[in-house]
């Protein structure tokens, strides 16, 4: 039986999962919405992956988890590797594009830029304190304009004269946008303007001071938006590569990291039927009131975190 590796990336908006073999071929992959329920999303994801996976031919021997819910999901899946999403994206992308020099990534709530030289990341930046120009902004504006977020790209490409929209801050961009709508700008032009604003915002904030060198790979959920891709190509003046699996790259990177890491733990799909719940305990040991999160499988405590000193150790 061949070895296989599971990679899961649980983001704020979407949950991604892949199963790869030793040659990095995708044996199964799935992309679903997190909908504010990471535990439910992971259970659903694992169920869907199970349907695509041939258990007779392969056996999952290691599990890698990344994304903002990696700690929680790592505890539930019994992961052998829990990695931050920046490293996971860098590793995933450099595996498939060894020559890449710049990785642009825009997800639901965060955006990052990774500069690569000789196949290793040499510098990165990530948005701080502000989620301007991320997928969440695009989807809320799509809702306002009454279209599906998946259609934004097609609308944008139909525009010949994109509307200027302030790119500095999501709040200002939004009021600018409302103003332009009420002035009578056509919908295509406004949508193209929003896409340009996302690209400009990204380059002005996250990409500030970073030298963007070709080849450029663009990934994360927003890379599926052709309007933003076109805006990046126009601004950067070079080709922007979007991998068909770009939205899965974090999960693929997590699976590769799990394979490279030494730890091995066979993975069963039976957790779909298990009951997981979390409980927040507030420690009363001092006035800091640490919020301790406890994760239970059934009635059994499997992990906890959030505690900052030994006084809270007994709080759960």
């Amino acid at each position: 039986m061949e070895h296989a590796y599971l990679g899961v990336d649980v983001g704020s908006i979407s949950t991604k999962g892949v199963i790869i073999d030793k040659q990095n071929h995708l044996l199964a992959s799935q992309y679903i919405w997190t909908q504010g329920n990471p535990i439910g999303a992971v259970k659903e994801l694992v169920g869907l992956l199970e349907g695509q996976f041939d258990k007779g031919a392969h056996q999952i021997v290691a599990t890698g988890v990344t994304g903002s819910a990696r700690k929680l999901v790592g505890a539930i899946l019994g992961a052998t590797m829990v990695k931050n999403e920046i490293t996971a994206h860098a590793v995933g992308t450099t595996t498939f594009y060894p020559d890449v020099r710049t990785i642009l990534e825009i997800g639901g709530q965060d955006s990052k830029i990774i500069l690569v030289e000789n196949g290793v990341a040499v510098d990165y930046a990530m948005n701080t304190l502000c989620a301007a120009g991320t997928g969440a902004f695009l989807s809320s504006q799509a809702k306002r304009l009454g279209i599906e977020v998946e259609e934004i790209g097609d609308y944008a490409l139909r525009s010949t004269h994109p509307t200027q929209i302030a790119a500095r801050c999501t709040v200002f961009a939004e009021s600018d946008l409302v103003h332009k709508i009420q002035m009578g700008h056509p919908r295509e032009d406004i949508i193209a303007g929003v896409c340009n604003a996302v690209a400009a915002n990204y380059l002005n904030n996250v990409g500030k001071g970073k030298k963007i060198v070709s080849p450029v790979v663009f990934q994360g959920g927003v890379s599926k938006n052709k309007g933003v891709v076109a805006a990046f190509e126009r601004t950067l003046g070079c080709e922007v590569i979007v991998d068909p699996n770009g939205h899965l790259m974090g999960a693929i990177g997590a699976a590769i990291l799990a394979r490279r890491g030494g730890a091995r733990q066979a993975f069963d799909f039976d957790l779909v039927d298990m009951d997981f719940r979390t409980r927040e305990a507030s420690c009363g040991g001092c006035s800091n009131h640490c919020e301790i999160i406890c994760v239970y499988r059934g009635d059994q405590l499997i992990d906890s975190w959030g505690n900052r000193c030994e006084r809270g150790a007994g709080a759960h």
Partner: protein, 359 residues
């Protein structure tokens, strides 16, 4: 009778320097010192509630700490002067606290001309008119010595604690040292505490590779040094087995280079021509120093809305490009969750770790 008039003085929490404030107040000024409680989430809640929205985070922390000092029985608050907005913070904090109805005496160093020696005597007399000048001077110097020891051992601690091979002995030695400083009553206590800690550091076996990862910390004066405010960024990095270096501390900034920053200014004149704030010159100089000494990375720490440090960032970007050294920029607000910070630090560690193997 004299007892009744003795002031109960407090100064907001600031990294671990309160042990020296306490020593100077009790031994040199012969007053009572009210130790503000350790900074917690409650401090930040109080500070944030009564602060203007767009003030920088240290103001919120300081205000919260002042309120907790007053609750603990302080009747006199001391506030420092400063070269950025900090210079106005005393006035602002006093007004906010008076509006909240607190009764206290406020000694704001911004009200004095700190360039004149005579003014120092006026300040001392205001704390305690019956102070003995000879004793004051002698004990004040012990307090400064304590600051120097503290800074020296803090630097040593963060450079080595990640490589402790004796199950936390390094950390325990460090905590014992802090306890000794917080309870010192005499010069002998300070010297003994220092010597004991040095001996303990030296006798702790370290498991350090020949070329460990080295990271330099630069940034805003309060947030870069105060572990609560920067969510223990130094400890977190050190725990990943990194040598953490920080030049910025009270000793280097005031005691050794107080007026000598001119030298630093000359050293960085090819990078920038003006002082851009209280710490910009030192930060730029030290960032380049780290780059030239072959460090693996630089972490820039600042609170949100700290204008002088925002001005430093473009220069750091130039240093990063010239010397090919990655810089991680961290901005802190009154947040309490360190999940986002951990993501960035882990990624930074992975990056400098992998890149060291290749380059």
């Amino acid at each position: 009778m004299a007892e009744a008039k003795t002031r109960s003085i407090s100064f907001p929490r600031y990294a671990e320097y309160n042990c020296a404030f306490r020593y100077i107040v009790e031994q040199a000024l012969d007053c009572r010192y009210v130790m503000p409680p350790a900074l917690t989430r409650r401090t930040m809640e109080l500070g944030t509630r009564y602060s203007p929205d767009f003030v920088c985070t240290p103001f919120k922390t300081i205000l919260g700490s002042m309120i907790e000092s007053l609750e603990a029985g302080a009747d006199t608050l001391l506030m420092t002067h400063g070269l950025c907005r900090l210079g106005y913070y005393g006035e602002l904090a006093e007004q906010i606290l008076r509006d909240l109805g607190y009764q206290f005496d406020f000694i704001n160093l911004s009200d004095y001309d700190m360039d004149k020696k005579k003014e120092y005597i006026r300040i001392v007399r205001r704390f305690n008119p019956r102070v003995n000048p000879a004793r004051f001077l002698a004990e004040f110097m012990v307090g400064l010595k304590m600051v120097e020891y503290l800074d020296e051992l803090t630097a040593q601690y963060y450079q080595n604690c990640g490589f402790d091979a004796m199950d936390g002995a390094y950390r325990r030695a460090w905590q014992d040292f802090l306890t000794a400083m917080y309870t010192a009553h005499s010069r002998a206590d300070v010297e003994n505490g220092y010597r004991t800690a040095r001996r303990a550091f030296q006798s702790t076996r370290l498991d350090k590779p020949k070329r460990p990862l080295r990271v330099g910390i630069v940034g805003e004066f309060y947030t870069a040094m105060d572990a609560f405010s920067n969510l223990e960024v130094e400890q977190k990095l050190a725990d990943m087995r990194v040598e953490v270096h920080r030049w910025m501390n009270v000793t280097n900034q005031f005691l050794r280079y107080g007026s000598g920053q001119k030298n630093l200014r000359v050293k960085i004149r090819d990078l920038c021509r003006y002082d851009m704030g209280p710490t910009s010159t030192a930060n730029i100089w030290y960032a380049r120093e780290c780059a030239e000494r072959g460090f693996d990375g630089i972490v820039h720490v600042k609170s949100a809305a700290c204008t002088p440090e925002i001005d430093v960032m473009p220069v750091l970007q130039n240093i990063s490009a010239d010397y090919k050294i990655p810089v991680l920029y961290l901005t802190y607000d009154a947040q309490t969750s360190d999940v986002g910070l951990m993501t960035r630090l882990e990624a930074f560690y992975d990056m400098i770790h992998m890149r060291k193997k290749v380059f």
